[in-house]
């Protein structure tokens, strides 16, 4: 009750406290809610768990374990906080072993394609995700590397290992050329321009006689698979070379994205560049460095492409091929290495393995891409974060929809409270108060007023027992200002040394009247709660 409440109103409530008692409302249906992250937990943690292994020259630990005691059994446990390295290792091991062992020739060839595209996507992800430059000329960079090295091999007799060495130089040179507009242009202007540059390359390659306009591609370059090798061993060799290329792509992604350059750029995301600049981060230089490094990487993949296929074809520059690559990284999710690889896996699987379907498989891929971009914020690997955001939204909606919580802890809050006993006590208290509220009536209050010092009814005793058991903090007490003449109601502070505070201006002449006043106050509080 507010302390400035007028006396009449107080008297009124004393005389007639609310007699109508609301029927217990049906409880709102609650859905099972929880925040359980199922982590594999290992038994025991001794001194060994404090000695972490590190990657050489870094502070990174291969596997990050947390030690804790199980709250239920109190047993010592170790939990692997981030299982992704293990998953990566298992997936890569399966990839390294399965296709050559179990796949037929076309499957091994498709796996090699997958590895090459995965490498391209990983390096492209550095441009789009890390550097934030939405370049659509990634495949064109690969094409420039492939055409350049193939031309050197055809016209200057370069062997395959020299092509691998020269490929990054072509990529770097092309990267420098297409970076010049990136210095000035922003966002979509640059994306559109790179589409145009890819188209320009395609038209040039189609029309240029030295680059094999007549043969639909420049072929006859040296290959790293020796001609003396038979078909199957040659394919397997190509597969493992592609595997090494993909590992190289992963390493490059990890080194650039996870180390200093990547961190600098993560501090300067889109729309927050000014802040990063104020911190002294030269984000433009960092972006361009990442772009050039990844262009060199793409050129190197182009060199690999030329040695694998003995040349290059104009399909590298077509928009369709580019769209296929874009579908891969969009489906997986822009900004993560696993997204790049898994998206590539899905699209290559649909594209190469279901090749009998004809154009339908590409329609299917485009449909998946469209569905991903319409419904998912960050591709497949953004689903957990998006789900958590959705659940949080639903949770707060439900919390907002519940107008009266009746003093109970809501399930949404309960998962944040470690001491579950407190929740039980609170719930019991809420139900007890609801029960007692039903007992309060005008007759009961009247009985309390008239029965001071006499035997009381069972109902009144119940109510009084609850009132007496209240915590000391804010408990009402009677202060005798002048004994047998003036009594007032105070509330205890509950803290030693802090005096009780006066609750209101009411003055009672007798202790009995004061006791009844305290009772009315408590009834009032009970009805209000």
């Amino acid at each position: 009750m507010p302390p400035d409440m007028p006396q009449e109103a107080l008297a009124d409530t004393q005389a007639a406290p609310p007699a109508t008692v609301a029927a217990p409302r049906p409880r709102a249906a609650t859905l099972p809610i929880g925040r359980r992250r199922v982590l594999p937990s290992l038994r025991g943690h001794g001194g060994a768990s404090w000695q972490r292994q590190r990657y050489p020259f870094t502070r990174r630990t291969p596997l990050l374990f947390a030690t804790r005691y199980n709250p239920l059994t109190l047993a010592a446990e170790r939990q692997l906080l981030d299982p992704r390295p293990v998953l990566w290792l298992v997936a890569l091991a399966v990839l390294a072993v399965a296709p050559p062992l179990f796949g037929d020739n076309s499957f091994v060839a498709a796996s090699t394609t997958f590895e090459m595209f995965a490498a391209i996507n990983l390096v492209w992800m550095l441009q789009i995700g890390t550097a934030g430059i939405f370049s659509l000329a990634s495949l064109a960079t690969v094409g420039v590397g492939a055409y350049g090295t193939a031309a050197l091999s055809v016209y200057a007799g370069f062997p395959w290992w020299a092509m691998w060495l020269v490929g990054p130089l072509f990529g770097l040179a092309f990267g420098v050329i297409i970076t010049i507009p990136a210095v000035r242009l922003e966002g979509f202007y640059y994306a559109l321009l790179t589409v145009g540059i890819a188209e320009l390359c395609r038209v040039y390659v189609i029309q240029s006689q030295p680059l094999g306009a007549a043969n639909n591609g420049l072929f006859g370059a040296d290959g790293f698979v020796p001609d003396s090798m038979r078909e199957r061993p040659g394919l397997v060799l190509g597969f493992y070379a592609g595997f090494a290329l993909m590992l190289g792509g992963l390493l490059l992604y990890r080194v650039v994205n996870g180390q200093r350059l990547g961190r600098l750029l993560r501090a300067a995301p889109e729309r927050h560049e000014a802040f990063a600049e104020a911190l002294g981060i030269n984000y433009r230089a960092a972006r361009i460095r990442v772009f050039l490094i990844s262009s060199a990487g793409l050129g190197g993949i182009g060199g690999f492409y030329a040695t694998l296929l003995h040349g290059a074809s104009p399909s590298l520059f077509t928009i369709d091929q580019l769209l296929l690559l874009l579908a891969m990284i969009v489906i997986g999710g822009i900004g993560t290495a696993e997204g790049a690889v898994v998206g590539t896996l899905i699209v290559v699987l649909l594209d190469k393995v279901f090749i009998g379907l004809g154009p339908i498989r590409l329609i299917l891929i485009a449909g998946i891409m469209l569905g991903t971009v319409l419904f998912l914020r960050g591709g497949l690997f953004g689903i957990p974060a998006q789900y958590r955001a959705w659940r949080g939204m639903k949770r707060s909606e439900r919390r907002a929809a519940r107008s009266d919580r009746e003093g109970e802890t809501m399930p949404e809050e309960a998962i944040e409270i470690a001491d579950k006993q407190a929740i039980v006590v609170k719930r019991f208290d809420a139900r007890l108060r609801a029960e007692l509220r039903r007992l309060i009536s005008d007759a009961l209050i009247e009985e309390h007023r008239t029965s001071a010092g006499k035997r009381r009814s069972d109902t009144l005793e119940r109510v009084l027992a609850y009132f007496r058991s209240a915590a000391v903090t804010d408990k009402y007490a009677i202060l005798a200002v002048k004994p047998f003449a003036e009594y007032r109601i105070v509330a205890l502070s509950g803290r030693r040394g802090v005096p009780p505070r006066v609750v209101d201006d009411q003055v009672f002449a007798t202790p009995e009247a004061a006791r009844h006043g305290v009772f009315c106050k408590r009834v009032q509080d009970l009805m209000d709660s």
Binding site: L193, A327, A366, L374
Partner: protein, 292 residues
Amino acid sequence: MDPYYLALTTVTLASIYGLLALGISIIWSSLGMINMAQGFTFAVSGYGAWLVAQSLSSNGFAVVAGGLVTGALAGALIGAIAFIPLYDKPNFPLRSLIATLAISMLGAQTLLWLFGPRVKALPKIFGYGSFHIGTVVASHEKVGSIVCSVILLLVTLAWMKRSRRGLEIRAMMQNPEGAALVGVGLRSTAMAVMAVTGAMAGLAAVLLSQNYFVSPYAGTTPLVKGMVVALAGGLGSISGALIAALLVGLIEAVTAVTLGGQYVLITQFLFIIAVLLIRPRGIAGMIEHTRE
């Protein structure tokens, strides 16, 4: 070099580029979306016109109407798929760009699946005749496409200037949130924009198919050219798009006459990159921050 020939070629190219670039430019400035599916609209309107010519009548007006209607429907479809569900979602510009790219891939493959890889030819709607302008022979086809596209451009511009809907579109270009606050329906206006620009692409498809063929991938080159013209003109600026269309058309004509056809794209790109390096927002582009 014959100035009359040059002028005629320039105007022909400029009118078609203008139709394509204007569509992309208007969509970007009013919806904030890069419509990479404009090439799909182009291709599908070619097929629509071809179907009309095959099954209904090969009358010129019917074929043009077929292209216009198919283009408007395709544009509205793109708007319904890529704009309506996404425009209030986070990261809208990038997601709509990817969505329109996905639509263009989906559309090209569907067309390939339905109609097969063989190209189709549209009937010559302007006839085969020709007449002289100065020293140059102007075929009906060229003059017809100039007249048609200029008429459509003028009608669109007048509609944008005079009509209620055009006022809403211009309000949305200037400040989408403000427009929504004063009662402009973003969704309905967006659908109108998509339908009108789709119809423009449809007309461009019918006109260009007088010289080229209708095929599932026919939209790629016009898309790229329209896009770079819009880029050079400045995304969001109508006058800029028209100036850029004229300049790019002129460069294409001059290059084709002096250097040869295979250098056209290279000189165009050099020109556009030069323009963008000097003026990163294009010839008359709005500054992006203004739109936000």
